[in-house]
Amino acid sequence: MRNPDQILAIVFQLTQLLLVVLAAPMLTGWVNLCQAWLQNRTGAGVMQPYRALNKLFHKDAVIADNASWLFRITPYIVFGCMWLAAAIIPIIAVDLPFSRAADVIALVGVFALARMFIALAAMDIGTSFGSMGARREMLVSFLAEPALLMVLFTASLISQSTQLTHIVETFAHHEFVLYPSLAFASVAFVMVLLAENARIPVDNPSTHLELTMIHEAMILEYSARHLALIEWAASLKLFAYISIGIALFLPHGIVGVGNWSGLPLAVGLLLAKMMLAGAGLAVLEAMMAKMRIFRAPEFLGTAFLLAVLGLLIHFLLGA
């Protein structure tokens, strides 16, 4: 640890960790604000999620009598998983110490771990909504995961590595090349992002109709700090997913560790890309209605097909 390079890497890692955890709710706020604008509403402003979190942290938690330790620790595990994911992804800098800990496959595993805990916790209290939500979440995620992996494999094949750091370096720091295979992969990735983050058309994050919920049904019994952590983790997850998208498809501007002069530009570009992605997400959601739940397999099947097409095109065209 005496090595100044290593210390610098840790400083960069901590900067990214803090930036992500603090900025993630703002992304959610931004998406909501864009949605409000698209509906001719004024909107509550980008700071609204912080106010909501603050309110939740000041409340007393109500926990079902028959909830086990699983129910109590799940919010912390989910939050931890999402934060870890955000540490692995090169968001402002590549070659961070954490990124060596896991490649893209392990990253998908981290998301899966969080999902497993939240589904178990939903069933733990034994309400019908929890089980219903868990069952639907599993239906959606077991179809989304292969599609996501296919997208990541396409990028890995091009860069000859499953390390996100290498992928970003290949795309960002070499001469500009158009990859037709990535075009297919990017469409598939957007579809997976919508499904995995409980967005329209697969789920509706703002619904109050308990019978239609997927993600919300699983967390109905949570309150106060537990709910706050889960909401925050959901923001982190959206942030992490968009960051993966940026790393795969728009990585320009992500700096190397120790590059202080490039850092302001990296953060500025990140902000611009996030705003763009958030606005795009809001537009997509404004244009669509929620599908019947049994259309979700078709939707994710299409995503999988597109991702596989991307792979095939890579083999056929070598690009």
């Binding site: 001719n40 019978l211 239609t212 919300e216 209605a289 929620k290 599908m291 019947r292 739940i293 259309r295």
Partner: protein, 554 residues
């Protein structure tokens, strides 16, 4: 008199719509109901009345294309049961159960004898709408939410020692006698089979809506059966009417179901006026029509928005609600209340309109026609929205006729009943209302009927504003009613026909007021509409009916 249901002697009820009444014997009830049913008629309402010196009186209000037919069936105090008509009119089932819960007279040999409106607010064996009913003991000792009620009610309270009705579970009584609140162990129908499980929903929901319990029996996501349990918003409205003056009653009638306040207030006023033999000023009648159409416009706008919201198409939601808000603000500005509460009183109306107001409303008509036309195109061309709407929650016309589906939902299933068209009272007799019907009976049809009715209501509003002439009188004074009268008022509210029946006592005071919401007929049909659909489609189907809890639970 053109009713030909022998053996029936009918007299005309002097009300604004065609209505007759006649006294019958118990043995003739089923026969007459059968005749009306096979002639295409249907059941509107069913209620009972305590006239203890002479026993009880059961009233069955039927309707065919000629008008309303009120059957009065006297029941002696000691038998206190009447022939079951739920086999002829399935909608009668819950009404009969409610009649037992409230007055203690039972439908003889009815298949379903479970309680309906009684939860735990009053004990088994006491009946709130009987005249000798003493103010109810809400609970004793510590109630279920943990509020210490002390020693209320006292142990010698008369309701704690009443014998249960035969056939009721004995443990219900034992709990009551031991002084704790009886548990609400309502026997739901169970569906057996491999993989079948139940999803209990409500009465407390994740969103802010009225309370109702829905018990789904499902396999995976597919609904095999839905059973509703209502009555959570029972407020004792019918009992409350008994001690009220005419004016207080008008206020309460307007609050039976807040979204239909105009319809209820008008039906109440119509019933009162029919007992008083009074016709309100022309101007008041035109204005009542205007208010009712504005209520329809506001509610249809709100529902169309909500239907968009339920399929997560929040753009439509926001746009419809902007328009609804515009209508409500114009209501507040011109008539003093956003939802037009208390603008209709017995004898007339309380709010008029001037030339400036007419201009505002005409401009609003134009805005609505333009904007709603655009939004309709948006809904109809949106693949995602149409995919959710079409074929969801189907009630075929045949089933609808069998179950007596009425009102707006009925018209979407080919049931061409609209009292503005069939029994037009002033001002509808001069307006030539066009009825909107569809025959698919799915959510999409109910959406289309709402759009059609919305445009028709805007047209009617414009017609009314053009024709709005008459004296300056908004209301005639109305103080005293004739004794022992029966008044019936029926108005086509936005949800369906809202009926209010009023009986006066020897001194011309309110003796029994029965408000009837079309939701009574339509709630049971919702159970059929969801069958075979998937669980996440229920909120959408439910919203496409948008039935009243408050108007049903009373």
């Amino acid at each position: 008199m053109n009713h030909t249901y022998a053996p029936l002697h009918l007299t005309r009820i002097a009300t604004a719509i065609q209505a007759w009444q006649g006294e019958i014997k118990a043995c003739d009830l089923q026969l007459i109901c059968h005749k009306v049913s096979s002639a295409g008629g249907r059941l509107v309402a069913l209620w009972a009345r305590d006239m203890r010196a002479d026993g009880f009186m059961l009233h069955v209000l039927l309707c065919d294309e000629r008008g309303l037919l009120c059957l009065n069936l006297p029941l002696s105090d000691n038998e206190a049961s009447f022939p079951d008509i739920s086999r002829i009119f399935p909608a009668a089932c819950r009404m009969q159960r409610a009649v037992y819960d409230l007055t203690g007279i039972r439908a003889h040999k009815a298949q379903d004898q479970r309680k309906w409106l009684r939860h735990a607010a009053w004990p088994q064996g006491s009946f709130p709408l009987r005249k000798d009913f003493v103010s109810p003991p809400p609970c004793r000792g510590r109630d279920r939410v943990g509020v210490d009620m002390g020693d209320y009610p006292p142990p010698d309270h008369p309701h704690l020692n009443l014998p249960p009705y035969e056939g009721e579970e004995a443990n219900d009584r034992s709990r009551t006698e031991s002084g704790t609140q009886p548990q609400d162990d309502y026997p739901f129908v169970r569906v057996e089979g491999q993989g079948v499980h139940e999803i209990p929903v409500g009465p407390v929901h994740a969103g802010i809506i009225e309370p109702g319990h829905f018990r789904f029996s499902v396999v995976g996501e597919k609904v095999l059966r839905l059973e509703e349990r209502l009555g959570y918003t029972h407020k004792g409205i019918e009992k409350r009417f008994e001690s009220m003056s005419l004016q207080q009653g008008a206020k309460l009638a307007g609050r039976v179901s807040g979204d239909s306040t105009v319809a209820y207030a008008w039906a109440y006023a119509m019933a009162i006026e029919s007992i008083a033999h009074l016709t309100p000023p022309d101007m008041a009648l035109w204005l009542r029509g205007l208010f009712l159409e504005r209520e329809r416009i506001a509610n249809h706008l709100g529902d169309l928005g909500y239907l968009g919201n339920d399929v997560a198409f929040s753009f439509g939601f926001a746009q419809f609600w902007i328009l609804k808000e515009q209508v409500l603000r114009n209501n507040a500005r011109l008539f003093g209340h956003r939802y037009l509460m208390d603008v209709i009183i017995p004898g007339g109306v309380t709010a008029g309109i001037d030339e400036a107001g007419k201009k505002i409303l005409l401009a609003e008509c134009e805005l609505l026609e333009r904007e709603v036309r655009l939004l309709q195109r948006l809904y109809e061309n949106h693949a995602g929205v149409q995919d959710r709407f079409s074929g969801t929650g189907c009630v075929a016309p045949k089933l609808a006729a069998q179950l007596g589906l009425c009102g707006m939902a009925g018209r979407a299933s080919g049931q061409a009943w609209d009292s503005r068209v069939q029994f037009p009272c002033a001002p509808y007799d001069k307006l030539d209302v066009q009825m909107a019907t569809h025959s698919n009976g799915d959510v999409a049809s109910r959406v289309m009927v709402r759009f059609d009715e919305l445009f028709e209501s805007v047209r009617l509003q414009r017609d009314i504003l053009m024709n709005l002439i008459g004296g300056d009188d908004l209301a005639y004074p109305l103080e005293q009613l004739s004794a022992n009268g029966l008044g019936i008022g029926m108005v086509e509210g936005w949800r369906g026909e809202v009926m209010v029946a009023i009986h006066t006592d020897d001194a011309g005071r309110l003796d029994r007021v029965h408000p009837h919401d079309p939701s009574w007929q339509n709630w049971p049909v919702l159970e059929h509409a969801i069958m075979g659909n998937i669980v996440p489609d229920f909120p959408l189907i439910n919203k496409s009916f948008n039935l009243s809890y408050s108007g049903h639970d009373l």
